[in-house]
């Protein structure tokens, strides 16, 4: 466990440059939008803070790739693989580091963007409405975060596995890597579809329809969301994780 912690901190340390600069860039972006408040339409300025949040998704994929490309480029993979740790802990440390970074960026994006987004909504909200909104938030946010994290983690593991598959091909890596990426994503969706049917019995996620509140309807309607796609993605993600760990331990040459 302490090994995992050490590996995780090293991963964050190795991508320290990003951990420092990316939040700064996000902050600068939102600061720039603030300065445009009076010259650009509010509908544009209020929505552009979402851009960093959307970029976080491709960024997570790139970071997952970089987490393995970098050690192979600067030979630190030799040091990492000479440690008496199982391949899965190295893999887990990298996945957690990627998720941490994305969480950090998203948090910064939300915190610095919120004052702008808030302007889209009427400033005067009645007290009862506010309490209903807050209650809905408490129910919605944790469930949505769970969904987002599962998808991000599965995506990150898929990219990492695809990179390790590419490694098997030695110098054909640039060719095999995109192929492996497409194929493993396709498998993820195919297996996911099959699992979906098997997971139909799982009780749905119940969210609150916030839009109804915004429209002034004080009766909050529930939204039922099937967790099956999320759970099947989780299962395939775990499968890919095991496969990637096995590849690293038994197949991939340093």
């Amino acid at each position: 466990m302490s090994h995992l912690w050490t590996l995780y901190r090293r991963e964050l340390g190795a991508s320290r440059a990003f951990v420092i600069t990316v939040p700064c860039l996000i902050g600068l972006w939102n600061l720039f939008l603030f300065s445009r408040l009076n010259s650009w339409p509010l509908l544009v300025v209020g929505r552009l803070p979402i851009v960093p949040l959307l970029l976080a998704i491709p960024w997570a994929a790139i970071a997952s790739m970089q987490a393995w490309r970098r050690p192979w480029q600067d030979n630190t993979i030799y040091l990492a693989r000479s440690l008496p740790v199982a391949a899965w802990s190295l893999l887990l440390a990298k996945t957690l580091a990627v998720l941490t970074e994305v969480t950090l960026y998203a948090t910064v994006a939300v915190l610095t963007g919120l004052p702008l987004i808030a302007r889209l909504f009427p400033s005067e909200v009645e007290a009862p409405t506010r309490s209903i909104l807050l209650a809905a938030g408490w129910i919605n946010v944790p469930q949505l975060l769970f969904v987002v994290f599962v998808l991000l983690a599965a995506g990150s593991v898929t990219v990492q596995m695809a990179y390790l598959v590419g490694r098997l091909a030695h110098r054909w890596l640039p060719l095999v890597l995109p192929l492996a990426l497409v194929l493993s994503t396709w498998c993820l969706i195919r297996i996911g579809t099959v699992l979906n049917a098997m997971l139909a019995w799982v009780p749905p996620l119940v969210l609150r329809d916030v839009a109804t509140v915004a429209r002034g309807v004080h009766q909050v309607r529930p939204i039922y969301l099937s967790p099956a796609p999320v759970l099947s993605t989780l299962v395939v993600g775990v499968l890919y994780f095991c496969l990637a760990a096995w590849l690293l331990e038994r197949q991939v040459d340093v």
Partner: protein, 233 residues
């Protein structure tokens, strides 16, 4: 008590594309000796050590090291010094030692400090700012600060200026304790040959010549370095 061989390889082969790095290699090493793994570049020395350390798998054949299959459990008891420059550039010297030391139960902080001094390394220096030779020394400190059963040192003299080579060999000898074993791969025999108990000459992934260092000196009436020249003539 039956002596368990420290390392046995039976018929291991490894290819990289068309290059044959190891070709049906059989090797057995008893514990308690310093082995010189000699050969020119590309003779398979690094590949062999990488396989023993579990960084690479052979295409065919069996490896047993310290009675184990190569892997995390074996790595806990062996100290592997890679040939390549594998250090994290963003860490300091002390930070590198702190990082690596957390993983090994046999790490000796006292010896690490002693080795740093012996190798003339400043603990506060950032690894990325060190010269190539300095980084090579730091790598050696990482390996030698451990009380491992087996040391795998891949080209520890490469990238080291001639004057410091003697110092590196001396550090290896200082560290060596009764019952421990070392495999030192090198293509520069001159500075290290006194330290070898046994030597294996590799060529194209096969054993060209092997034996006890003293016996080879007596039989061929020449130094191992001279023998190296003859073997690969």
């Amino acid at each position: 008590m039956v002596m368990v061989p420290l390392l046995t390889t039976t018929g291991i082969s490894k290819r990289y594309g068309r290059t044959r790095a190891l070709d049906n290699l059989d090797l057995e090493l008893e514990p308690g000796c310093i082995l010189g793994l000699l050969g020119p570049n590309g003779s398979g020395k690094s590949t062999l050590l990488k396989i023993v350390a579990g960084l690479t798998r052979p295409d065919a054949g069996e490896v047993r090291v310290l009675g184990l299959k190569p892997g995390p459990a074996a790595r806990a008891r062996l100290a592997y010094l890679p040939e390549v420059d594998c250090l994290y550039r963003d860490l300091t010297v002390a930070g590198t030692l702190a990082y690596v030391s957390t993983f090994f139960a046999d790490w000796s902080p006292a010896r690490a400090v002693e080795l740093l001094e012996f190798m003339d390394l400043n603990p506060r220096a950032v690894v990325g700012t060190l010269s190539r030779g300095m980084r090579a020394r730091l790598k050696l400190v990482l390996a030698l600060a451990r009380d491992a059963a087996l040391f795998l040192l891949d080209e520890p003299l490469a990238g080291i200026d001639p004057r410091s080579r003697a110092r590196i060999v001396e550090a290896c000898i200082r560290q060596y304790k009764d019952g421990q074993s070392m495999i030192i791969s090198t293509h520069e025999v001159l500075h290290a040959e006194g330290a070898f108990d046994r030597v294996v000459f590799l060529e194209a992934g096969r054993v060209k010549l092997a034996g006890a260092a003293e016996e080879l000196r007596r039989r061929h009436n020449c130094s191992l370095e001279a023998l190296f020249g003859e073997v690969y003539a």
